[in-house]
Symmetry: C2
Subunit: 485 residues, 2 copies
């Protein structure tokens, strides 16, 4: 089996049929619950619950159960296994024999838990190697595909739905799935998710190779605790980053974190600098925490990359403008100086305008701006003027809202959206105010028209900083100029 076909993980994400091995008792954490979550998120492919004693639960949520995979006559591309660790290798071997293409092992109790577990995991690695069947995990929540509703996690996933979108989220932890993250409240636009966890077989390079070619995935957010094959990883990461943004949170950065991550493999002290260099050379965007891992991709997904790092901010309070300039400087952006033409056009709008940060506070009580059709129209006018300036590459709009302005949101969103259209520059919005539900609603409406919204000013601006960084990197990776970052 050559490398490309080994990295074809499509059976994990687009299986014709799925066999689910484990207890069919109706409680979270069981195979029953895996089936429940698949149905809940709308997976309509074949699902075949498998348990040695099907007489106990002959039917699960309307689906016939089977004693053995050999009894299933339909196509089965994917197996999901959540049984006691000692029973896993035999089940997985049976799947390989049956011609299943991919298996997710959800069960815990492998390499993370001591010598016995290490030996069990080694058996899985061996089965994958000899059969060619790919195995994800063990100790994972498996996969999610928003396009077909496939979701293999066994805990209660109480998000009602997973929004289809261009961000793939993958990692080595259960904390990144729909059973842990408020994806629905965030309206988080997901293509695929997976947790490679113990990596008995499928590793980060496989995932990157697959996602690089996945048309549904526009941006990849990857959490890593370690890298198994540095050379393969570098090759895959570099290829992916030359096509689409790769955002990486590598934890175990500190000595203490590395110990926590890998005490059983010996000290990894001192390796973080190596990861740092490798990630930079691969063209990845290395971020610092969970918040950045999830939030930075939203600007990368929804907006064009900036041509440079010249930043402008449009705000309603001067205090936010000053803080924005600080954040910009700390994020590798420079605060743009507007062209004389822009300055004079801004001054024509209000004599208090012309500088960057653009502080609309005083201008909003100016008679000229007061004559505009609505109190927020000055935002739109200003945004268009600033985006038209050749000295500006990216803009954050600071917008305050509250419960009483909710009825105005559609007008404001439409106005911002129209004003931002046609410039091919990078725009995001910092939304804050007196009500979290109003802020959330405004964020959702902005995202729906392609404007990424943030509830943290610093994070909005850092996202632009990372986008500008990646814009330079990507040009280098694609040879249009020397890699110089």
């Amino acid at each position: 089996m050559n490398e490309t076909s080994r990295s074809d993980l499509s059976a994990f994400f687009d299986p014709k049929g799925v066999a689910v091995f484990g207890s069919l008792r109706e409680i979270p954490g069981t195979a029953y619950w895996v089936v429940r979550n698949m149905l809940h998120f709308g997976f309509r492919g074949g699902i075949y619950p498998i348990n040695p004693d099907p007489s106990k639960y002959p039917e699960v949520l309307g689906l016939k159960s089977y004693a053995d995979i050999s009894e299933v006559s339909e196509a089965v591309d994917l197996a999901v296994v959540i049984t006691p660790p000692a029973t896993v290798p035999e089940i997985v071997q049976k799947c390989a024999v049956r011609g299943v293409k991919a298996t997710v092992v959800l069960s815990e109790g492998f390499a993370e838990s001591g010598d016995e577990g290490v030996a069990l995991q080694q058996q899985l690695t061996e089965i994958a190697r000899t059969s060619g069947m790919r195995i994800m995990g063990p100790n994972t929540f498996g996969v999610v595909n928003s396009a077909n509703g496939l979701a293999t996690m066994p805990p209660w996933a109480d998000n009602e739905k997973i929004e289809k979108g261009g961000i793939a989220v993958c990692g080595q932890t259960g904390s990144i799935g729909p059973h842990q993250i408020p994806m629905e409240d965030w309206a988080y636009p997901v293509s695929k998710m997976c947790d490679i966890s113990n990596k008995c077989d499928v590793n980060e390079a496989d995932v990157l190779n697959y996602l690089a070619d996945d048309p549904d995935t526009k941006v990849v957010a990857m959490h890593l605790e370690d890298v198994r094959d540095g050379k393969e990883f570098m090759k895959a990461a570099r290829r992916l980053a030359s096509i689409k943004p790769l955002v990486v949170l590598k934890t175990g950065r500190s000595e203490a974190g590395a110990r926590a991550s890998a005490s059983h493999t010996g000290s990894m002290v001192g390796t973080d600098r190596i990861y740092d260099t490798a990630l930079r050379q691969a063209g990845a965007i290395r971020v610092n925490n969970w918040q950045e891992l999830f939030e930075v991709p939203r600007t990368l997904l929804l907006q064009p990359l900036p041509a440079g790092n010249r930043f402008a901010v449009i705000t309603i309070t001067g205090g936010q403008g000053v803080a924005a300039a600080d954040s910009a400087s700390a994020s590798g952006l420079s605060v743009a100086r507007f062209s004389p033409e822009t300055v004079s056009k801004l001054r024509a709008l209000s004599p208090r305008l012309g500088g960057n940060p653009v502080d609309l506070g005083p201008a909003m009580s100016d008679s000229r701006t007061m004559s505009l059709p609505n109190p927020f129209a000055v935002f739109g006018e200003t945004l268009s003027l600033v985006l038209a300036d050749a000295n500006v590459d990216c803009v954050t709009v600071v917008f305050a809202c509250g419960k009483q302005t909710v009825p105005l949101f559609p007008t404001v969103v439409d106005m911002l959206s129209k004003s931002a259209t046609g410039y091919s520059k990078t725009v995001n919005v910092f939304v804050y105010g007196t009500s979290l539900s109003a802020t959330q609603e405004m964020s959702r409406q902005l995202q729906a028209v392609g404007l990424p919204a943030y509830i943290d000013l610093d994070l909005a601006i850092r996202s632009l900083g990372y986008a500008a960084y990646y814009s330079r990197v990507k040009a280098g990776l694609n040879g249009s100029r020397l890699l110089c970052v």
Copy 2:
């Protein structure tokens, strides 16, 4: 008037009567709205709307209006002025003559807006100097006192209430008031708020001197763009920090930010290092962004200061544990090594325990922990064991929740609260999960029993890092050992 009495700002926060000057038209941004907000937040002292043409609005929200302050026979300690800038000095002068002790000038159009404004502001400074009446602003939202419902801002403040508590929030921007911040959703525990903005008279040193002695204020969060009198500031900051924590966000940190903040006073390039040194010497906790300004004080308010910087984390997923160790290292904390006694007690709870980060994930499916009274009881047991360890100074508990666990929250909160009691160590909680409303509800319940909750792991741990820093600094300021930070 000596320095101490000049810094007595009690007339701003506890006035016997308040005169409000300006338009009585029923729209946000007017004197009408100032009156509305005062009534809305429950201020029950005398309120006297003043407008030259009271025949137009003889009554405002049930309150009689007056043509001139001389017509008010009751005591008036505080004046709030929101009239066109050119009219302000005369009104303020009248207030001084009348014996008003404090005036808040909400109007814009002073030093921030050009030469004419500078001259007008100078007149205010002169009135304050000659009369002894203190003036806050101009260009401010004024003051808030949660104890008596006083709130002088003119915009629509749609928070329903302001929670009484120990954090004073003050700054030089309108973005920090109840008309801009989701204080109610956060259940943010406030004592007093003020915006000194243009600082024609009342400055940061006055505020610090006042808050140092304010019994309702346990922690001060201060936003600064500049400092007017370095010597006075240092004296006041150092005195305050020797009594209670002083958290400072100094913006205008970058060259671009400084330009944005103070282009009219000439370049402040290069001064940030001076501020940094000064703040450190004063014993202030310098934070980096709005989020930290609001969130770091919550741990300082609700929890005892840690005796040292040795950190433990109790988590349900290993991935969060690794990230927590990274955050701790980046925040000046060391990841504690448990004593042999703690290790053996943890192992008795579950053989998979004993290390730090304490990963409860595997332990939660262990038969011994399964026999505990509820699935979360292992959190409480573990927390008590960890807090009892002499090698541990502070702990973050990582807790995942969702809509389906809301009914269990009171049990969990009670269990965590009881387990944390009696150790005099610093504990906070990182709460995450599938539903923002559930996360928010859990945070509120935790805060109600004195456990600060965060929705960002990194921020929770940074808050502990700042607390450990301040603990060292405070000991130095109070001479118990050499200041060595």
